[in-house]
């Protein structure tokens, strides 16, 4: 397998900054963030789930306004359905653009997946068939989205539980070529790599080694659930030891990129979240290239 080393002629991360260590902005922590001095928030940046704030004009919007005034924020979506055979949802993109205008995110990300077809929405991140035709389709749609939003899209590798028959390439090649051909960035979710590697039986480290490192803008960390026959991407537990090892590898390959801890279910108190995030620093310290 060819290793995709960073191209020294290209700016790393598409020129985006390394924001440091962040957490997802989640409802159970709103009260803490509102009553605490921003100097004591203990994180460098926040990632918001775009869909939680589209059309929201209540307390969540009020919290977001305060957060965005004191920290960089990034918009992370789950509903773009970039891989669907349906036309792109113009109304969704308009609302995304409107939210971006409001909160000025450093970047906007979503997943390599499809969520619906023929007007029906699964509200799930469904896997793509890994074929040349589907890659061409997604590449074209990423370009359309980038034109609409006026910025590069950052695309995340999803967790998956099935692969379609007739695959013509592995997922890492699909993502690497998508980034090269469309100009998008990559959000490398090392937990998703671990989950999919377990579920499909590939080498997680080889996946990360094969991605174009200079296209990786951000890393996600999270904890999955072991269901015996498969791992489920639940974001409801601490990060697993093998996932930290993949994180260290990603940091070594990229030289350091923005790190985000996701915790979406059984969400712990804010202090506990920070304690888990602090482990990222310890793992980086063991990697001289990105410490």
């Amino acid at each position: 397998m060819a290793r995709a080393d960073p191209d020294p002629a290209r700016p790393p991360r598409l020129g985006f900054p390394n924001l440091g260590d962040g957490v997802g902005l989640r409802d159970p922590h709103f009260a803490h963030l509102m009553r605490t001095d921003p100097a004591d928030w203990g994180v460098d940046w926040f990632e918001l789930l775009s869909e939680n704030f589209l059309d929201h004009r209540g307390y969540a919007a009020h919290v977001l306004e305060r957060v965005a005034a004191h920290r960089p924020v990034v918009m992370h979506g789950v509903s773009m359905s970039i891989g669907s055979a349906d036309p792109l949802d113009a109304a969704y993109l308009d609302k995304l653009a409107e939210l971006a205008e409001r909160v000025k995110p450093v970047w906007i990300s979503d997943h390599l997946c499809w969520t619906g077809i023929a007007g029906t929405n699964s509200h799930d991140l469904l896997p793509m068939p890994l074929t040349e035709a589907s890659l061409a389709h997604v590449t074209s749609r990423v370009r359309q989205v980038q034109d609409r939003l006026g910025r590069p899209l950052i695309v995340e590798n999803p967790s998956s539980y099935l692969q379609f028959a007739g695959a013509q390439m592995p997922e890492w090649e699909y993502l690497g070529r998508l980034a090269e051909d469309s100009g998008c960035g990559l959000l490398l979710d090392v937990n998703n790599v671990h989950v999919s590697a377990f579920n499909h039986g590939f080498d997680a480290a080889a996946y990360i080694e094969a991605l174009p490192a200079d296209r990786i803008v951000q890393v996600h960390l999270a904890g999955p659930r072991d269901c015996g026959t498969h791992l489920l991407d639940t974001h409801d537990s601490p990060v697993l030891e093998p996932v930290w090892a993949l994180y260290a590898l990603a940091m070594r390959r990229t030289g350091g990129v923005s790190t985000l801890l996701e915790w979406d279910s059984s969400i712990p108190p804010y202090e506990e979240l920070l304690a888990e995030l602090a482990k990222a620093r310890a793992w980086r310290a063991a990697e001289p290239a990105c410490a």
Binding site: T120, A167, H230
Partner: protein
């Protein structure tokens, strides 16, 4: 659009929504391995689809869930999901028609409580909408002085963060129990006029006297002249117009501070 992609996606989502797929087709389209076969892999997505939607409804309708219990709530939810696959990108939008579904599927001749689930769902949906709506928290309210409130020509309206409801049950004790983590309270039948309203980012439901409900309804979201709305409220509530206006003078500052009305732009 690649036809093969559309065909594959339509097959997969159709099977997920139906909750079942021909095993032979699954084995032909999905790879498996020793640990987990194609059918088991498909089942993860089919099961996840329902769980996610049920969880979304549970989050939006906690009082209804408290009232009817987990098993019956899940039956309601599964019926709704089967009849209404999601069409919108926002999961928040998904529960919007749950009350209508419960109303349409209530048992015929089911007695005085047959309409209770739909009534609870209607109130909880109103609460969810009010929570997300544009509120009055940032609006200047200094315009409202005792003198200015009833100036001829003053137009007021309901803010987006207000919903007026007329229900056949007193649901407030149930909502309170749900918020406080208490046990289910069976609502008493009886006409109940309420406003679901947000102020200081807090959502609450206020019982309203008929004339107040009628006056707020006459203002509407577009706004109306205060006196015109008072005349309409007097007519529909059977109160004498002068007495109603006198009461309104006293109540208007309260209504404004509660977030029930704002100045029409």
């Amino acid at each position: 659009m690649p036809e093969a992609l559309a065909d594959l996606q339509e097959w997969m989502l159709g099977a997920i929504v139906a909750g079942t797929a021909e095993p032979e087709t699954v084995r032909g389209r999905i790879e498996g391995n020793d640990r987990l076969g194609p059918e088991g892999r498909f089942a993860i997505y089919a099961g996840g689809y329902r769980s996610r939607l049920i969880e979304s409804l549970q989050n939006e309708y906690p009082a209804l869930r408290l009232l009817v219990g987990d098993t019956v709530f899940e039956l309601f939810a599964r019926g709704y999901i089967a009849a209404n696959p999601p069409r919108h990108f926002s999961l928040y939008d998904y529960g919007a028609r749950f009350a209508d579904h419960l109303e349409a599927t209530r048992p015929a001749g089911g007695g005085p409580f047959a309409g209770l689930p739909a009534a609870v769902a209607r109130l909880e949906r109103a609460r969810a909408e009010v929570q997300r709506a544009e509120g009055i928290e940032r609006r200047d309210r200094s315009w409202l002085t005792a003198e200015a409130a009833l100036l001829p020509g003053l137009r007021l309206r309901l803010p987006d963060s207000v919903r007026l409801l007329g229900l056949d049950f007193d649901l407030l004790p149930l909502i309170e129990a749900s918020e406080d983590g208490g046990g289910a309270v069976v609502p008493e039948p009886g006409e109940s006029l309420i406003a679901v309203v947000r102020s200081g980012y807090r959502v609450r439901q206020l019982p309203l006297e008929p004339w107040r409900h009628a006056w707020l309804e006459a203002l509407g979201a577009d706004g109306a002249d205060v006196y015109g709305a008072a005349a309409a409220a007097a007519s529909s509530s059977g109160r004498e117009a002068g007495a109603l206006l006198a009461d309104l003078t006293l109540w208007l500052p309260v209504a404004t501070s509660l977030g029930l009305v704002t100045k029409a732009d």
